[in-house]
Symmetry: C2
Subunit: 683 residues, 2 copies
Amino acid sequence: MSSQIEQLAINTIKLLSVDQVSKANSGHPGAPLGLAPLAHIIWKNLKFNPKNPEWINKDRFVLSNGHSVALLYSLLHLFGYDLSIDDLKNFRQLGSKTPGHPESETPGIEVTTGPLGQGISNAVGLAIAEKNFAARYNKPDFTISDSRVYTILGDGCLQEGVSSEASSLAGHLKLNNLIAFYDDNHITIDGDTNVSFTEDVNKRYEAYGWNVIWVKDGNNDLEGIAKALEDAKKSDKPTLIRVTTVIGYGSLQAGTHSVHGSPLKADDVKQLKEKLGFNPDESFVVPQEVYDYYNKEVVERNQKIEEEWNKTVEAYKSKYPELGAELSRRLSQKLPENWAEKLPTYNSGDKALATRKLSEMLLDSVFDELPELIGGSADLTGSNLTRTKEAVDFQPDGSNIGTYAGRYIRYGVREHGMGAIMNGIAAFGANYKPYGGTFLNFVSYAAGAVRLSALSGHPVIWVATHDSIGLGEDGPTHQPIETLAHFRATPNLKVWRPADGNEVSAAYQIALEQNHTPSIIALSRQNLPQLEGSSIEKASKGGYVVHEVADAHVVIVSTGSEVSIAIDASKKLKESGINARVVSLPDFHTFDRQPKEYQLSVLPDGIPILSVEVLSTSGWAKYAHEQFGIDRFGASGKAPDVYKFFEFTPEGIASRAIKTIDFYKGSKIVSPLNRAFYPIHYE
Amino acid sequence: MSSQIEQLAINTIKLLSVDQVSKANSGHPGAPLGLAPLAHIIWKNLKFNPKNPEWINKDRFVLSNGHSVALLYSLLHLFGYDLSIDDLKNFRQLGSKTPGHPESETPGIEVTTGPLGQGISNAVGLAIAEKNFAARYNKPDFTISDSRVYTILGDGCLQEGVSSEASSLAGHLKLNNLIAFYDDNHITIDGDTNVSFTEDVNKRYEAYGWNVIWVKDGNNDLEGIAKALEDAKKSDKPTLIRVTTVIGYGSLQAGTHSVHGSPLKADDVKQLKEKLGFNPDESFVVPQEVYDYYNKEVVERNQKIEEEWNKTVEAYKSKYPELGAELSRRLSQKLPENWAEKLPTYNSGDKALATRKLSEMLLDSVFDELPELIGGSADLTGSNLTRTKEAVDFQPDGSNIGTYAGRYIRYGVREHGMGAIMNGIAAFGANYKPYGGTFLNFVSYAAGAVRLSALSGHPVIWVATHDSIGLGEDGPTHQPIETLAHFRATPNLKVWRPADGNEVSAAYQIALEQNHTPSIIALSRQNLPQLEGSSIEKASKGGYVVHEVADAHVVIVSTGSEVSIAIDASKKLKESGINARVVSLPDFHTFDRQPKEYQLSVLPDGIPILSVEVLSTSGWAKYAHEQFGIDRFGASGKAPDVYKFFEFTPEGIASRAIKTIDFYKGSKIVSPLNRAFYPIHYE
């Protein structure tokens, strides 16, 4: 029942996608063939301006089944984004704008997808951000925000646990600005879904509190898809529209998994082009009327909408100058001037406190100042200390436990979902800085999302408390060992382990100032003294001399809860005439970005360096000749007993410092910062 | 409606649990108070012999909400396991048998739990193993296996995605030997579940294909619980019994989250003991009649059942000598003699092949020999090449796509679920060696389960293909960088990255011979040549000289796909008069366990050592003075283009070898294997 031009447009999308995969001889043609009609209907309905991809009130489109990316590139090209036919011809080639999975650097791509389950979970985060943004800025007479989030996901996304976590929360939060289309094509890589996936998806989503609609012929029933979409817009819940399709529709291999991840054969492409009324000898063909149709029907309409919105915002700024200024500031991705004056500072006489407690005090101090800060915890609020005193919970309007204007999210025990949702919140724009709490050990549950924060450059913050054996009795199931080695080895990720209050302030200051780098802040359960030698300024360099001695025989470099013990060790060594400088190195990533000269002033040539940290020694050789750490699992017991057992005492550190000095006696000692060669293509 | 002795027993369980937490002044009293009646009913019904915890036909009990461990210790003590009142008094103390969460080293504890969502997923694995074990050994006239798996889980476990993945698969597989009790107490750490968890759990589990029963008063309705349990046994599906309870039942803080994770106050303990008819001035009290009751009603009955089973097995061995011998062998946790003769070996003239392909050929060769081998893939069968030619799928009996005797599991796109299920299969016993395939990068999705494999010592094997930028076009979302650094930093985990066919055989041989150590085998997508210098024997040491030269100026140490490029670099360097030894180091963990003398013969003093691997350099300083790697994210493009871009070519390696030689010229060079001091308490 579609018009001729619509069918031509859909066929163009299909063949552009197939041509990309064929030209690259690599990629996934099946899903684009099944999804082109659906994508056409969604994009026809989408609110966006291809010339201003950063428009805050655009609708967001997330391709959660990211392997179908050729479809997305076809759409971006046809709808006027900065992606040329030549770019499509370079699909999956080194250095192209069209890599093998969607990467958010490409204009028009909201979030990086491919790792399954992430996109739909990012979409939940985008929807949360929109609800919060609208609640803060909309007024009865001014609609600043009314955008929606659309996403397509496949069977794979539904099977991944991360999507279960995020979808359950989306239902709880009644995010009716979220419309998800489930590509029900019965095929995964292993073949028919009946080999592993026979659950009743509709019922499961109803159980989560979603509105569920089923379109049974997604290959042809354009009206049915369009009607479902309109119905979804009216719901007071998030909607899952199950669209039954045939993978590779039109191909000779339609409906089989062989069409999933390999190019179509030449004869198959030929018959497909003929079937769709295209010249089989031509590739990358776009009839001019398709460009014109999309430009007129969609792009021009949307540009008018954006113009209207711009006028609304101008009027808003006059009527609500304070909120208007805040809005402008946030849209420019800048923090308020002088916000950092709110950061607490400490002197060595101040009370010993757990760094998780210092984190809570800091959040209390800055929370009102930064409306872009939106926090939460994966059901460990009382342990992570992530909820500020005045915070309101982010909950559905009309519930009696919070509102959409609230900025504290009760994530439930859903670390991976929280990570992916935070990525979505950050991807919304408006300078959102999401933070989320859990135990450091359980950030690993979210490794898939943390990696994508780093790869996509989402400035999210993990408040990762209970950061070592110092958590004590909960034992080895909860004590991180490999965790910091893992995350420090992840590119573009700051991993702070502050030693006291000033270092906590430095960690948050730098983390909040990032626009393209996520941070993990590892915090202690146990109390730590305020150090004499620390300051926000020094710690902001990522590493500094916290305890200086004349004529050092050894440098002890440490982080977090071990820094004060290292200083005690230095004092003990002094009694035996040994001079031990102590360096605090709260974040490798920040320290690595200081001038080399500064780095070498902290960790110089000529003195042996010993690292001390109650976690895996792996990765420390970058800064220290010798490493004292824990390369086994921890132990359940009172924290002081466990520290003593592993010899992380002034005596235990001092004895290893002496062994380090002895071992290097008579050798030419080169700082580990000096290397035979340095990386190329560094980030 | 319970008898007096039952009530006394339940009260004893409650107070023993409360006393443990109070004595330790640390732990979780709330759940045990709510769950004691349920636990009593389950354990009364359980088939086990406390004097023979390894009995293969015992029922398994898994406490998925592991923080309730005080409850489990009380049960183990009362039901006659080797856990004394003194052990209970040492709850959560360093070196005790009663750590803060259940650890499988304690007799009677099936799996280590605490990290939420894992236990229920392990239970699915235990149920799969039982179905497979029964299908292989039961005969119409002999029941060798008919045990069940019981598990208690809380709201937290249900919120975690890993449990969604495993539960969906359990429903698909119709595992009616699995009975899960959901402690529906409306409380998580953040307070009432209505802040984040309002989904309809019953409906969700029905959607997964489970049988769902609801007991609405779990604190008092013992008959209701018992009836639900009997009904569950008759189901042809897995059963979820939702048991509504009050957390901390009987405490003054009952029904609030303040009773979750902190000891009860002294006056609260006092009133509770009085209420339950115990002397408030005494602790750790067990009335003799409770011991007698459990011993007579449960232990003695079960010992008779085990005796009968032993007789059955003896008769079975006479009637089915071949299967009987196999059964005996498996119960002794030993591989068949001479099995390793089936491992393929290669010569340098043999065809270049991807190591994932070599892995497939190996699995084909040994699969029939090893009935304990039970494999699968997270929906990447055709890419991981994990399915052997003759494999039958593990599917419900009566389906037309496999049987319970099948040994190939279609996990679906559920990596974390797969990891936790593999842990459960391994925990079943009978020498099960589960392996599971996914891309190396997505093993990270399962980090929570991998960590528990290592901590608990489950000998599972990850077939981790597409192990680097060598996967090419899929790009940075799929190219691991930090992954090996992460897993190599995890204690008790072997991480193989074989360079050719002989190294693949060595990796599998050692992985399969483990009874207490898991392995990840990282495999290439691209073809690699068979090396002249490799052999199974050499590679079995974890590291060896693969290309020797006289009077080496430099040692190049490498793994996997880069070893052959390093050898080419050595040949290129030879042309300039530079002698470069090449070392292949396929597994750090295995190499670390060789005699120091051997290790130093491979990586000696006096020669600078350069590592070469197309992943993060982090962790390599343990073996090499200088590291050539990739400390940024990868790139989408043809694999050879990407290798060239990052300079992993003979020329790129050679130039860095020269820089390494120059940098260390004139220095005293000490092998990184020689350290100033060595770890204490090593694993």
